[in-house]
Symmetry: C2
Subunit: 447 residues, 2 copies
């Protein structure tokens, strides 16, 4: 056998598919009984939903190509007939859900927010997403938290609140946690801040009919995927690499692609042990904290009320919502995100408190009908043994400049893949696929 892939998420499966297409023998070892990694199909009120990764953005060409090749279809995220509700610093506004729309704030706050966004995007465009550490002022940009930048560059409570909510929504971490350089890198890797936040022409534009996990499931169909096989040891010498599963079976190969989140890649045992720089890197890129909550209703009633189901609020625990009803709108399904610090506090509540705190948010945002869903469910990605946080890893201050150059560097016969390794569309399904393809191509070029 030629190559072992550890992890049957989009990155691992995409790498495996390309390698098989090039004539390689490939075995994919997956810890769970299902494929998909951070993609998982669920169901509410008889309709499919995404418990994990959901959206395909406008420029996500690799995902679009995959969807086509696998015989799947996409549909537009609901974004019509209604306004986005924004609640910032105690003030509510409704706005048209088009890209470029800004909340209706007082003129001072609006000017502040506009200059802040322009300044952020200008700075982001100066960062090379393939080499953030090479920026002429990288030490300065990576030596401060995004919170420090927000405090220094936004003057109004609303302007600051907007950046903080946006950060939670995009990074599932707080402005205090991530480095400014990481925020800039991530924005430019994904176009710009607006693209990250937008539905139409943005990162949340489309969904897969039947659920995004179908992409992973269809990808796996043509591959030799061994489910329920957690890996516990990756041993290499000059000529081979041996990958051992917890149940004691060993798979010998020329190369291995470790396609699991960085924090989990760092927990595998390696023989010889990984070099210091690689181990210290994975100690420093924790996964964000996010819980997805869903409530189903007989109809997407908010649509009749001039609301499109999208909310951005600075009052938690749910600060961001989306309408994730099935394409035909047969039932209404609302998705609420609980992220960062909110997730930490919320996950320690008991089940009743968690549910009632979420529904209280939904009710405040969309009206009294939201208090009584026909079904409710939640998915805490930080509690998943084989993920340990979503959407992805973030870089704290000092990490891009200290360890960025070794992020994508193989260690002998051990190669890395995953959404965190992507230069473009980092952190998204698109980034995962591209990262898998890049890693596969590098291996093919070397064999």
């Amino acid at each position: 056998m030629g190559i072992v892939v550890v992890g049957a998420g989009l990155a691992g499966l995409s790498a495996a598919r390309r390698l098989v297409g090039a004539g390689q023998d490939v075995v994919v070892l997956e810890a769970r009984e299902r494929v998909g990694g951070r993609l998982e199909g669920g169901e509410i009120a008889g309709h499919p939903i995404e418990l994990g990764g959901t959206w395909i953005g406008e420029g996500h060409t690799a995902m679009r190509a995959l969807v086509d090749e696998l015989g799947l279809a996409t549909f537009r995220t609901w974004n019509d007939a209604g306004s986005l509700l924004v609640e910032l610093a105690g003030r509510r506004s409704l706005l048209a859900p088009r890209k470029g729309a800004v909340p209706r704030l007082n003129p001072v706050a609006l000017a502040d927010l506009a200059q802040g966004m322009a300044r952020f995007d200008r700075l982001a465009r100066s960062v090379d997403p393939g080499r953030p550490w090479s920026h002429p002022r990288s030490g300065r940009l990576d030596g401060q938290t995004f919170e420090t930048w927000v405090r220094r560059n936004l003057r109004t409570p609303s302007g600051r609140a907007y950046f903080r909510v946006a950060t939670e929504a995009v990074f599932s971490a707080d402005t205090t946690d991530i480095s400014l350089l990481h925020a800039l890198f991530y924005a430019v890797s994904n176009g710009d801040l607006e693209t990250l936040l937008a539905v139409d022409r943005g990162a949340q534009q489309d969904r897969v009919v039947g659920g995004a996990a179908l992409v992973a499931e269809r990808l796996a169909e043509g591959l030799d995927v061994r489910r329920g096989r957690p890996v516990d040891l990756v041993a290499q010498d000059a000529s081979r690499v041996a990958v051992r599963t917890r149940d004691g079976e060993t798979f010998s190969a020329e190369h291995v692609v470790v396609a699991v989140p960085p924090t989990l890649a760092g927990r595998l045992r390696y023989d010889p042990p990984l070099p210091a720089w690689r181990d210290q890197l994975t100690q420093r890129v924790p996964a964000g904290a996010v819980i997805k909550t869903f409530a189903a209703y007989p109809t997407p009633f908010w649509r009749d009320r001039g609301l499109n189901g999208q909310v951005a609020s600075d009052v938690g625990p749910v600060k961001v919502t989306f309408d994730v009803s099935p394409p035909g709108g047969e039932v209404g399904v609302l998705l609420g995100f609980v992220e960062g610090g909110e997730a930490r506090r919320w996950q320690r509540l008991d089940a009743d408190e968690r549910r009632s705190s979420v529904l209280a948010c939904f009710e405040r945002y969309l009206g009294p009908e939201a208090a009584a869903p026909t079904a409710y469910l939640e998915k805490d990605w930080t509690a998943e043994e084989f993920t340990r946080g979503c959407y992805g890893a973030f870089f704290a201050p000092g990490v891009w400049t200290g360890y960025g150059p070794v992020l994508r560097e193989p260690v002998g016969r051990v190669h890395w893949a995953g959404a965190e390794h992507a230069v473009e569309w980092n952190g998204y399904m698109e980034g995962a696929v591209r990262s898998g393809l890049v890693t596969a191509d590098r291996i093919l070029a070397a064999t």
Copy 2:
């Protein structure tokens, strides 16, 4: 059997000793063939040296008590007959090595440094080391890097350089990496910044005759320590906990004390998996990066030259040195630290480049004799599979406020210990011992 301790460092051994003293059956499982964890004995030119933890500070009462009980002795770190060399912002000065001494800088820089240190210590005294997250401005203090504070509060290049070198020396991390709240917590946990940096009446005051690792070795003598037994699974139910070693043996107990560095505690497998908050905590407290380098000379020649062998410089790779000659001064042994970003760059050089870059520093600091040692050695703690960085873990921005409250919280029958868990003398041998004793007492109170 009553209790299993994972890890035979000072924390684990101290916990085990107290538990045994209270009549409990205790087995200590140690991954390595030696005890001591971050303490390790070495030898250069026929004399013992500490490859890891070295010093006992003035207020380190638990360590002093242990040294006495174990029949060991201490001696003073060499701090006489000569000056400390300080090299900051291109300017050299010599100063008396007493606590409170400050480098001879130009008057503006001196005033700047003095106000910066006073301001830092005043702020540090407002932090409760047992509950840093409870500070009234904890969000603000933890939302910025220490570097941000240094830039805002020090105005001169020398003043900033001093804080950066001090941070590397104390945290084996850069000002860009750690949160301001962590810097403040650590200072107050260890007295104040001057105590952390000082020899006489400070954290580097005394050494153990024969080497600090003797403390761990003597502690282990009275205990049931199983060496070479890495743990791979900690499984608990309502009534027992089972700790399995890699070779498949299972030790059943009422409680387990996991006394390994946080980043390694997070890599063990737990059944049921650890709750989200605990796992996300250990993802966020990476170990610092430090390499210890040693050179031996026929005599401690610097002492005849008005130098005491202590250097603090802002030019790497070695920025901090100490005279660690044996008590009688029979030979001269110089210790040089390579830390933080310097360690990352340096460890990727080949062996000859590493050695020559260190000796070039020693020569620049102490004179031409330093270029030709009779022996040279280095110890890279980040490359150690069962440590993965020293001196200890640091807290990046957002981590104390987000996860501090769960740091010392047991998970069912699983308890935590180690220098990172100490309220007082956090990060030092003293903190490790105290943490072990506190954890043992908590278990005894519960059984």
